[in-house]
């Protein structure tokens, strides 16, 4: 029998005690879900390099146990004003740092722990998920946000959810479970931020489960700005029904090792899945973007554009799978991954994967990685622009066509500001 990794052993040894105090422990449904998930996790352990989906991301430094590395605490480089903010500190809802008053009727934004303790246990429905990282989340989920939007509700200003790692924390893992459901024809923007006010190492393991009913339009923006010794393994699943639109943009600048895994499943005609993102890495940082897009019915579209900027010894991974089922005719799926390597030690691994079982579909994928264009650099310099500024201009230009995909103007400005601040640290 294989020996489990130290971190897995630690989790499993704590499970029986932990389950008694985790939210929803009064519910047999939640308890059963946790136990099922625990067993799935125990059979697999954390994924190692022999697991195909994890070939390029090695979790060894995490699974031997989180060390006592301390990072410099990043200072906020840009800001955004939104009327509604929900804050989680070290994985737990903090009402004092939240402002949720005045949400329009039909929009409920609540804490998962509160929902489960109140007996709303039907929220948990995917306990048999085979993915180890998701199973770990289900077994140990402690809190998260629940966003429930009735039919035909439109909110223009983004809702903001902040996950903050603050000092004085005794626990160094956070298993957040977020559940989002948008009713028929509703339209909403959510900005989700993962940041740190403390330099200790921790493991963030958010799992977000989204259902978009007919005609719903959800703009979901995520900032991953964890401290530089943190681990961040995130899963987002989105189910799209008829004419639903899901727009996700993920900006990653933080964490020692991060993986942003997005799985969209389209079960409706006229639905559109748009996944975009940018990751800016330096030092020894590792960023993994993994997307799985399932087209299960005819007549819908998906597209993705990911841009990476990799400096120093950093490493980027992009894995994008587009699956088109046998009967899913008249589907289009486009995917583009581009990486800019600013150092000759930075590396990029890329694995596009098309699984097409229908014959009347339009699919494309492109993957490039390269250096800054020397001709363009010289052109800018020859007009009096110094080399440092010229490089920044070209990197911003490289990111621009991904950033321009952000349809919420305030978030676009906010994310661009964070990218600019990242470049200024170079």
């Amino acid at each position: 029998m294989n020996t489990l990794t130290p971190l897995a052993q630690d989790y499993l040894s704590r499970f029986d005690t932990a389950i008694g105090s985790l939210p929803g422990h009064q519910s047999s449904l939640v308890t059963t879900a946790r136990q099922t998930a625990r067993d799935i996790f125990a059979r697999q352990d954390f994924p190692n390099k022999r697991v195909e989906e994890w070939r390029f991301t090695n979790l060894a430094s995490l699974t031997k146990g989180i060390g006592d590395d301390i990072a410099e605490v990043p200072s906020a480089s840009a800001s955004i004003e939104t009327p509604h903010v929900m804050t989680f500190v070290n994985g737990r809802f903090d009402a004092g740092k939240s402002s949720l008053d005045g949400l329009p009727d039909g929009i409920r934004l609540t804490s998962l722990a509160a929902e489960l303790d109140a007996g709303n246990d039907s929220l948990i429905n995917n306990s048999a998920d085979h993915r180890a990282v998701v199973a770990l989340n289900t077994a140990f989920m402690e809190d998260g946000y629940v966003l429930d939007v009735a039919a035909n509700i439109t909110l223009d200003q983004p809702l903001r959810v902040r996950f903050v790692s603050a000092s004085g924390s005794v626990q160094n893992a956070r298993h957040m479970r977020n559940i989002i459901r948008l009713g028929d024809g509703s339209s909403l923007t959510l900005l989700e931020e993962h940041t740190a006010e403390d330099g200790h190492s921790y493991f963030a393991n958010p799992m977000t489960d989204i259902t978009l009913e007919d005609g719903a339009n959800f703009r979901h923006y995520k900032l991953q700005d964890e401290n530089l010794v943190a681990y961040h393994l995130a899963n987002t699943d989105c189910l799209l029904k008829d004419n639903a639109t899901y727009e996700n943009f993920s900006l990653a600048v933080g964490a020692k090792l991060s993986r942003n895994e997005l799985t969209t499943t389209i079960v409706g005609a006229g639905a559109t899945s748009i996944l975009n993102g940018a990751y800016l890495m330096r030092g020894q940082q590792h960023s993994d973007t993994t997307t799985v897009t399932n087209h299960l019915v005819p007549e819908n579209d998906s597209r993705q554009v990911y841009k990476g900027v990799l400096d120093d010894d950093s490493r980027g991974v992009f894995q994008g799978k587009i699956h088109i089922a046998e009967n899913a005719q008249q589907v289009s799926g486009d995917q583009l991954s581009k990486a800019l390597l600013l150092s000759d030690r930075a590396t990029m691994a890329c694995k596009p994967e098309l699984q097409i079982y229908a014959d009347d579909v339009k699919c494309s994928h492109g993957a490039t990685s390269g250096e800054l264009d020397e001709d363009a650099l010289f052109y800018l310099q020859s007009r009096g622009i110094d080399a440092v500024t010229a490089r920044k201009m070209l990197i911003e230009a490289f990111l621009a066509d991904a950033m321009d995909e952000i349809s919420d103007e305030a978030v676009k400005v906010y994310f661009s500001g964070i990218a600019t601040a990242w470049l200024q640290k170079a």
């Binding site: 264009d373 052109y379 310099q381 622009i385 230009a397």
Partner: protein, 247 residues
């Protein structure tokens, strides 16, 4: 203004410039003509400071200073402008942003007041009007999707805006129809003054009908083989490079 002495330069170990000596004084326009491969573009790149070219011997003095010790952006800020034979496309950078950044870089270098977006727009609109360039071009990414003529006109616009002391024009006429050529030449002629100098690099005599040079030099195999006044250009056109180089 510019003094080139016995300049030798290589690229990838291959010697392209094999001893060029040329003096350009303020107020003068010099034309360097020559066949393909003579080293014309290399000369312009070495003067503008492009990397990849190694100067193996000789010197270039600009306004009394060692030009070769300066970075390309310092050269530009000190008043050298290279109009590219093939202007580079830069997706994602708006022309207006690019030109404002360049303008302010020079202002800053010279300790002069930088301009804001509104002031810059006023400045640039005067120039676009003179050159018959549509303002819409300023919103587009630098040279992306521009026709050959538009790219060259954009070079002249940048030059008009940056008001250099030494203009280096590398095959500015190539890819231009006669109307575009007249507009470009007109833009360059407007910049002629007793304080400014220019070096026009060209394969054909055509451009020199519109920008009359004070001196013409024939460059062949990395050396200046003949110098004269504007009549030399006409002679070249008549006899061809082979005969002139052999002379």
């Amino acid at each position: 203004m510019l003094e080139i002495k016995d300049l030798h330069a290589t690229i990838g170990g291959k010697e392209i410039l094999k001893g060029i000596t040329l003096t350009i004084n303020a107020g003068e326009i010099h034309a360097v003509m020559g066949p393909n491969g003579a080293g014309k573009s290399t000369l312009s790149y070495v003067l503008a400071g492009r990397s990849g070219y190694e100067v193996t011997s000789g010197s270039v003095t600009y306004k009394g200073e060692d030009l070769l010790a300066l970075s390309p952006d310092e050269r530009a800020c000190k008043g050298i402008f290279l109009a590219f034979q093939y202007p580079v496309e830069i997706p994602g950078v708006a022309s207006a942003t690019f030109m404002k950044t360049a303008y302010n870089a020079r202002q800053k270098y010279r300790g002069e007041q930088e301009v804001d977006a509104m002031e810059f727009l006023k400045l640039v609109r005067v120039k676009t009007k003179e050159l018959g360039i549509k303002d819409e071009m300023l919103k587009r990414a630098v040279n992306v999707g521009f026709s050959g003529g538009e790219k060259k006109r954009n070079e002249v616009l940048q030059m008009a805006l940056l008001e250099p002391d030494l203009m280096l024009l590398d095959e500015t006429d190539s890819g231009l129809d006669i109307d575009a050529l007249k507009i470009a030449a007109d833009g360059i002629n407007r910049l002629r003054s007793p304080e400014r100098a220019g070096l026009i690099i060209t394969h054909y005599q055509r451009l020199l009908d519109y920008i009359i040079p004070d001196f013409v030099h024939v460059l062949a195999d990395g050396r200046i083989v003949k110098s004269g006044d504007k009549s030399l250009a006409l002679e070249l056109e008549e006899k061809g490079y082979a005969e002139m180089s052999a002379a």
